[in-house]
């Protein structure tokens, strides 16, 4: 039983058809990657699934429920969250506070008890703080917990976004190029982390340009070109698919180094 189902999703900007009739599904514990040349519509697809853009047609189903075009904060409540290709960090907050913000839904803040610092609010904050530190350990940022997030390196911020997303307690996690700009060691760490998350039962939808990584960890791959799905299947099947090879060669771009 798939937890995330995408049926015939499409969007137009003005007259331009950016994504057209894309369908696939993700099961709990599965890692599904979306690949394709630059401008294939991968990030646009992510933006539609996560409620940032309004799809022109098609539907997104989460746990069997139609959640198409639902606001992102409502999707988060239903267990879907994401990271961003262009970092979206709370720059002026500390690293720890960034992750704490991820616990927003489980803390369920009440304005009155927060203004007056009532014991209930304090206790919930303390609990969230402990769990947040655990996530920071997981992405090896515990040492930087009290640093202002804006001071961190690019690779560290990528990991911080993952920790923040985990704090939401997602059932479905969309990762938009988690390894972009990271060195080989960092990429391997993220690689392991993703595998571990999938093992814990989270459904993972991944956009990534590092083909070695994609081939290594994905259970299933969806290939987009010019906004259309041109192939899907296991890593082996996809890598041998002539349409896929043609799409990449046609794009005149070395896939492993492409970005954007």
């Amino acid at each position: 039983m798939a937890i995330l189902e995408i049926n015939g999703l499409g969007i137009s900007f003005g007259g331009l058809r950016a994504v057209n009739d894309v369908s696939f599904s993700v099961k709990p514990g599965e890692i599904v990657s979306v690949i394709g040349p630059n401008g294939a519509g991968k990030t646009t697809l992510f933006n539609m699934i996560s409620g940032v853009y309004l799809p022109s047609d098609g539907e997104v189903k989460l746990n069997g429920e139609n959640v198409t075009a639902k606001a992102p904060h409502l999707l988060a409540e239903k267990g879907l969250t994401r990271t961003f290709q262009n970092l979206q960090i709370f720059q002026e907050m500390t690293v720890l506070e960034n992750v704490l913000a991820g616990f927003h839904l489980s803390v369920r803040p009440s304005i009155l008890s927060d203004l007056l610092s009532l014991p209930g609010a304090k206790r919930r904050s303390a609990e969230a703080r402990e769990k947040a530190m655990a996530f920071l350990e997981k992405v090896r940022l515990a040492n930087a917990a009290e640093e202002e997030a804006g001071n961190l390196s690019y690779g560290a911020l990528k990991r911080l976004e993952i920790a923040r997303a985990l704090a939401v307690g997602p059932k479905v996690l969309l990762l938009d190029e988690p390894a972009a700009g990271c060195n080989a060691v960092e990429t391997e760490e993220i690689d392991e982390l993703i595998a571990e998350l999938a093992q814990s039962g989270i459904a993972i939808l991944l956009v990534e340009h590092d083909m070695k990584m994609v081939m290594r960890i994905s259970n299933h791959i969806v290939v987009l070109d010019h906004g259309e799905k041109i192939a899907e299947g296991t890593p082996e099947a996809v890598s041998k698919n002539p349409d896929v090879i043609a799409a990449y060669l046609g794009a005149e771009e070395e896939p492993a180094h492409a970005d954007g």
Binding site: S50, I89, M93, P109, I111, A165, V168
Partner: protein, 318 residues
């Protein structure tokens, strides 16, 4: 940042408030001090709106006007005690903030600026034009709070200046305590998160519209209470309290001191309240110098005075 630093900040401020009167050469300075605290109160509200939640307002003097005129009108027309009128003004301001905040907080940047500006101008226009009720541009008298007489009855004799100095200082300390609580709470984090990135805030489940509105309402209530206190301590009020220049003054105080920092905003309020008192010796050159100071501080200390200084000496947690 810990709860400790919150109590340290409050203790430092309370200490300064206690010690300052020792240096007052005359009773007049109690009045000036009271004015500083009342301005700081509305500026702390703007710190929550601008500094925490990242939303701008050029119309918050409108709420100060509502608070002020609630104290002037309600005791006369509704027969309620002036202290209750403060509360009534705060409730009206809060409700109004909810009603107008919902639609206008969808706007961003300069669009939000012009919408809030429009709101403030509407309030000041009503106060100026409804002469029958408000006395028009000439203003109107405000009833006495009566608390000073009660204290005298208990054997505590305070001058008007002394009374308002103490009263406003206490209210300001409570207001700062609340603002600091908020800063370190989940609600405050949600506000600061949407300031950093609305998109990311949404993806972690933060209802952006709701927290913008909360910040707007809290800041409106702060401005309203400040307006009420100002009216009560002066015993007289004019529509200028709701005017555009007062809104600008409030925002400038907040940004001058450091809009992300509660103590900085208090410092900003102190400087901009005292400056005109000092600049009066310059007579005709007063505005010229004021404008020059605003430009220079913003260019050379863009974070505001306190954070810029703190950044230089690497003093964290202000």
């Amino acid at each position: 940042m810990s709860a400790n630093s919150k109590w340290v900040q409050l203790a430092v401020l309370a200490g300064i408030m206690l010690v300052l009167p020792v240096f007052f050469p005359s009773g007049y300075y109690y009045r000036v001090g009271a004015l500083v605290y009342v301005n700081a109160l509305s500026v702390i509200g703007l710190v929550i709106l601008i500094g925490y939640a990242g939303q701008i307002s050029l119309g918050h003097a409108g709420f100060a006007g509502i608070g002020a005129y609630a104290c002037a009108l309600a005791p006369v027309h509704l027969g309620i005690h002036p202290a209750l009128a403060v509360l009534l003004g705060a409730v009206i301001s809060g409700v109004l903030a909810i009603l107008i905040g919902r639609p206008i907080l969808r706007l961003k940047g300069y669009y939000l600026a012009v919408a809030t500006l429009g709101f403030g101008i509407l309030v000041s226009m009503v106060l100026s034009n409804e002469r029958g009720l408000t006395g028009g541009p000439d203003g109107m008298a405000v009833p006495d709070l009566g608390l000073r007489q009660v204290l005298r009855g208990m054997g505590l004799k305070l001058s008007g200046g002394e009374f308002w100095y103490i009263a406003n200082a206490l209210v300001l300390l409570v207001a700062i305590w609340i603002a600091l609580n908020l800063f370190h709470s989940a609600t405050g984090r949600a506000m600061r998160a949407l300031h950093g990135s609305e998109t990311a805030a949404r993806t972690v489940g933060i209802d952006v519209a709701r927290y913008k509105l909360q910040a707007f309402v809290i800041s409106a209530v702060y401005a309203s209470v400040a307006g009420s206190l100002l009216a009560l301590q002066n015993g007289f009020i004019t529509p200028d309290v709701a005017g555009f220049m007062h809104s600008v003054e409030m925002v400038t105080m907040a940004v001058l001191g450091g809009v992300g920092s509660v103590l900085g905003a208090t410092l900003g309020a102190a400087i901009l309240t005292l400056l005109p008192q000092v600049l009066t010796v310059l007579a005709d050159y007063e505005q010229l110098v004021l404008g020059l100071i605003m430009i220079l501080v913003m260019i050379f200390l863009p974070l505001g005075l306190l954070p810029s200084i703190a950044a230089r000496i690497r003093w964290r947690g202000v």
